[in-house]
Each structure stands twice: as C-alpha cells, then as structure tokens.
C-alpha cells in the first residue's frame, strides 16, 4: 500500500506548479552562473574568489561544484523547503486529509509515502542541477582536467568525484527536507513551513558570524555546515572524516524531526 501511495504522491507533485518552480530554479541557476562567468571571468590567481571559481574558465567541470557551493547558502534549502514544506500542509490547505485517511491506506503508509516523495523531489532537483551544470559548464568551458585542492584530476576522475559530491551533499539536503516535513506536519500551513525551514537554515548559518558562539565548535553541529562536506573528496589523500560526520549530523537532525512528525501525524485530529 505504501508503494501505491508513494506513486500517487509523486504523480501529485508532478501535477503541481510549485514542483516545477523548484526544478526550474535548480536548472536555471547553473546557466546564470555560467553566463556570469563568461561576462566577468574570474582571475585564476585571485585569492578572494572561491577555489573552484578560479578554474571555471579552464574546465566546465568546476561549474557543478560551484553550484554546490553557492546553492548551499539559500537556493537548495529553498528548493527543498518548497516541496517538503508543502507536502503535508497542502493536505490541510485543500482539506483532503479527511479524503485520503478514510480509504484503505493507514496513516503510517501515507506519511511514509509523503516523506519518500519529498526526498525523491530533493534528489531530482539535485540531479537536475548537476546535469544542467555539467551541460552548461561543458558548453561554456569544455570538459578538461580539473584542479583540486591537492592535484589535478582527469575529466573521468572529476566526474566520479562530482557524482560523489552530489551524493554527500544530498545527505544534509535530505536532512533539511526532513525538517521541512516536520514544520509542514505541525504547522499545517505551507507558507509557515517553507519560511520556518528557511529561517532554521539561515539561523544555522548565522553561527558562522555570531561571536558569542564558539563558531567553530557550533558549526560542526549545524546541518547547513554539512552542505560543504563534499569538499573533502577533493583532497588527496581522500579525507572521509568530514563525509562521515556529515552523514552522522544529517541523521541526528533528520531522524528526530521525522519521528516527531510521524507521531504527530498518526495522533492528530483531522478536524478541518
């Protein structure tokens, strides 16, 4: 039953405009970045610019990595929140929860299907971003060897590392989606859930600049910090510690968020 409910959650997402809004943002952002790089090319020796930006003119393979870097500030939390924050609350908005909860699928199956659909969407948006980045970067700068923090890797090795980077990036991105599902379930209001998720992500990022916090230690526990963990893959020898830490922190955030949302969804009165 969960499988059928999941299939329908995906079909419902496919029928809504907001789904394409997020996917379009994930697809358009790399193109905007590539155009910006073409208009104002960065200088390879500029120490103020992000590492991969310095090489974006030489190799289009730097573009997906730049997107991961830039999207982690607000774009991807927004894309994740846009759908995950809506997935339960929209049922309240449409008053359809009573319609689906009086059929033969239990509340647990419906909730699992919704979480799985939200996660599917996040992964689809990431995939969209990586594909568009590769195409746009490739067309603009060509597919050439990519400098890393320690060495220069071949295009095939770079593609492997890019795939790994997106996989590592997906972990905290799914964590953010889990928080959005929690807000969506508890607030019963799509806008509140989307804004709440964005605020939570921004508050976590604020730990970088608040002097009152030992920002280094605090940041280690912030979910948004884990959106940078993929960079460890570009060191030689490969450093797995930040990747494992990112996985751990993602689970630490996602599991309680989903557990609270689950209990709330199973026990709540559907009175609207």
């Amino acid at each position: 039953m969960t499988g059928r409910a999941y299939a329908w959650e995906v079909r419902k997402l496919a029928a809504q405009r907001r789904t394409y809004l997020g996917l379009a943002a994930a697809a358009v952002a790399p193109i905007v970045l590539v155009v910006a790089i073409r208009v104002r090319p960065p200088h390879p020796t500029d120490p103020g610019s992000p590492f991969f930006l310095r090489y974006a003119v030489d190799s289009g393979l730097a573009v997906p990595l730049l997107m991961l870097l830039f999207a982690s500030v607000w774009l991807f939390p927004l894309v994740a929140a846009l759908v995950a924050g809506d997935i339960v609350a929209a049922e309240d908005g449409n008053r359809t929860l009573k319609t689906i909860l009086t059929r033969s699928a239990g509340r647990g199956a419906i909730f699992v299907a919704k979480v799985a659909a939200a996660f599917t969407y996040v992964l689809a948006a990431l995939l969209t971003m990586v594909v568009t980045s590769l195409v746009a970067g490739g067309l603009s700068s060509g597919i050439h060897p990519l400098p890393t923090f320690s060495t220069v890797v071949s295009p095939s090795r770079a593609l492997l590392l890019i795939a790994g980077s997106f996989a590592v990036y997906a972990l905290p991105a799914l964590g953010i989606a889990a928080i959005a599902v929690l807000f969506s379930t508890i607030s019963r209001n799509s806008a509140a859930a989307v804004v709440g998720t964005l605020l939570a992500a921004l508050l976590m990022q604020l730990t970088q600049i608040l002097p009152v916090l030992d920002s280094g230690a605090a940041q280690r526990w912030m979910l948004t910090t884990q959106l940078q963990a993929w960079q460890a893959l570009f060191r030689t020898p490969l450093d797995w510690a930040p990747v494992l830490h990112a996985a751990y922190i993602s689970v630490v955030y996602a599991v309680p968020a989903l557990a609270v949302a689950w209990v709330h969804f199973l026990r709540r009165d559907v009175a609207g």
Partner: protein, 303 residues
C-alpha cells in the same frame, strides 16, 4: 453469533478545552437502516461523524463500525464503510477522474468501477476537467462517486444536499433512496427535517452535543397522533368553543390556527358546534404536528 451492527456509539464524548462538542452520545444503526442524524448547525453532528470515520479521537466513549474500532484500526473498521464529512474535498489541480484513480489506488483497487460510478452520479461528461472548476454540486456528486467506488455496506453522509439546487437535491435523495433499496445502510447527517421524513426510518435528534431523541421516525410522529389543526373564520371564538367541548384538551392558538388534542368523536362534535355558532371551518386536519414541530418541542425542552 449475531452480526455486529454497522454503527454503535457508546457514551461518545468530545471536548475541546471547555467546549463540549459531543456529550455522551449513544446510538445504534442497524443493518438496512436509513438513519437520520438530525440537529441544527453546530449540534455536534459532524464531530460525531469524524469520530465514526476515525478522523478525530473521542475524549471518552467508543465507536464501533461492524464491531471494529476506527481509532485503533481505521483500515479494518472502514473496510466496508465510505462517506464524507462536510463538503467532499479533492485535489483541485487533478481532474475528477484522476482524483478517483488516486483514491482507488489507496483502496488497493485498479479503479475498475470509476466509469460506473461517474455515470451513476452523472459526472462522466466532466470527469476530464480539473476539480478546481467544479461547482459545489459537482463536488458533492464526486464525493458520492468516491464513496460508492468502495462498494460500501455502510455510507456515512454529512449534509449531502447542502448547497445543491432543488433539482440536485431531488437527484441526491433519489440516489440515496436507490442505494438504500440495494441494501446499503445509510447514516445521513442533516439539519433538514424534510430530508429525514422522506428518506429515513430511524433517527437521532442531537442538540448541543446531546442526543434528545433516538428511535423510529414512525414512533416520533405517532406521538403527534390525536392532534388536530383547525383553520376557522374566527380563530379566537373557535378556540373558546374547543375549550368548552368535552373531550378536547391542550387547546392553543398558533399562527392563526387552533391546535388541540382530541379523539375522533370529540373532533366531530367540535366541527358541528362551530357550524352551529356560524363559524366557517376552512380546514380540520388530523396529525397537526409535523416532525418539524416535534423537533422543536424536543429541542426546546417540551418533549
């Protein structure tokens, strides 16, 4: 072993803080009943229905649908049950047919009955339109289609004719009658007494969350037997004559009519005396109190 009743409510109570929405509701809907759940707006009908469908948890008491608890195991309890509370709700961005396909999938069905139920509610011509463009009446009919798709043995309908035009109301009532004729037990929540009179064999009257009457519709109306409504050319003088006639009791004047209780012989005597007194009788109607009047007697504390 006796089969469990389609609906059994025992001491059902729901509170929201200080507000008591449903208070100690006990009733049984037997197989084959078309059961009216009658009460004014805000009486607790919809809250009761939500508890029956497992959507909200009772504060106290229990609900059983065919012997199963819809709170503890909604999937088992609702296996033979369908219906809707308030206005049926659907995904506005999906077509009517897509909505039914989704609900069929959640029932574990391939939706083989979709065409049949769409035809039944006369929505087959608009099934390809998005629900956001549907009128209230079309949504009501789609709600009924969604319910019937499950081949239920029990239908719980909350104000199914609300917001429909007269033709729509007639069609909905005809459909309910037809479904009842097919042996489906129906619990019909409504504030329309005419609906209960036309469709139901049993009813409960609920007011301020409490059941005021529960039983056969015929029994309730029978309590009005022996009553008469008299329309005369001089109501005040007619009332005096009634009061002076042996065997006539409970005489009152309401809305220009005289109402009284009497045996058939006493009523005949009154008509003769009125004529002798030169008072014209426009109407002398037995069973002078309708369900509506009985309803108000009960809910206003006279029953």
């Amino acid at each position: 072993m006796t089969a469990a009743a389609p609906v059994e409510l025992r001491g059902l109570r729901k509170t929201y803080g200080e507000l008591v929405a449903v208070d100690d509701v006990t009733l049984t809907v037997a197989a084959g009943d078309v059961y009216g759940y009658l009460g004014p707006n805000g009486a607790g009908k919809t809250t009761s229905l939500r508890m029956m469908l497992g959507l909200i948890t009772p504060t106290e008491g229990e609900v059983r649908l065919f012997g199963e608890d819809p709170i503890a195991d909604p999937v088992a309890a609702l296996a033979d049950v369908a219906g809707f509370v308030e206005e049926p709700a659907f995904y506005p961005y999906l077509t009517g047919r897509r909505n039914l396909e989704l609900l069929a999938a959640l029932d574990g069905s391939d939706g083989e009955r979709i065409d049949e139920v769409l035809r039944l509610v006369e929505l087959d011509g608009r099934a390809g339109d998005r629900v956001r463009g549907y009128s209230h009446g079309m949504r009501q009919r789609l709600g009924l289609a969604a319910a019937l798709m499950r081949r239920p043995r029990l239908l719980l309908l909350d104000e199914p004719t609300t917001g429909l035009d007269p033709a729509g109301m007639r069609d909905m009532r005809d459909l309910v009658r037809r479904l009842a004729g097919e042996g489906i037990t129906i619990l019909l929540s409504t504030h329309l007494m005419s609906e209960v009179e036309q469709l139901c064999n049993r009813l409960a009257i609920i007011q301020l969350g409490r059941i005021r009457y529960e039983g056969e519709l015929a029994d309730l109306v029978a309590r009005a037997d022996g009553r008469y409504r008299l329309d005369a050319t001089d109501p005040a003088r007619a009332a005096e004559i009634c009061r002076a006639t042996p065997g006539i009791r409970d005489v009152s004047e309401e809305d220009g009519s005289v109402r009284f209780a009497a045996g058939a012989a006493a009523a005949a005597t009154v008509s003769v005396r009125l004529a002798q007194d030169g008072i014209g009788v426009r109407a002398l109607v037995p069973g002078g109190r309708s369900l509506e009047e009985r309803f108000f007697e009960i809910t206003e504390g006279e029953g």
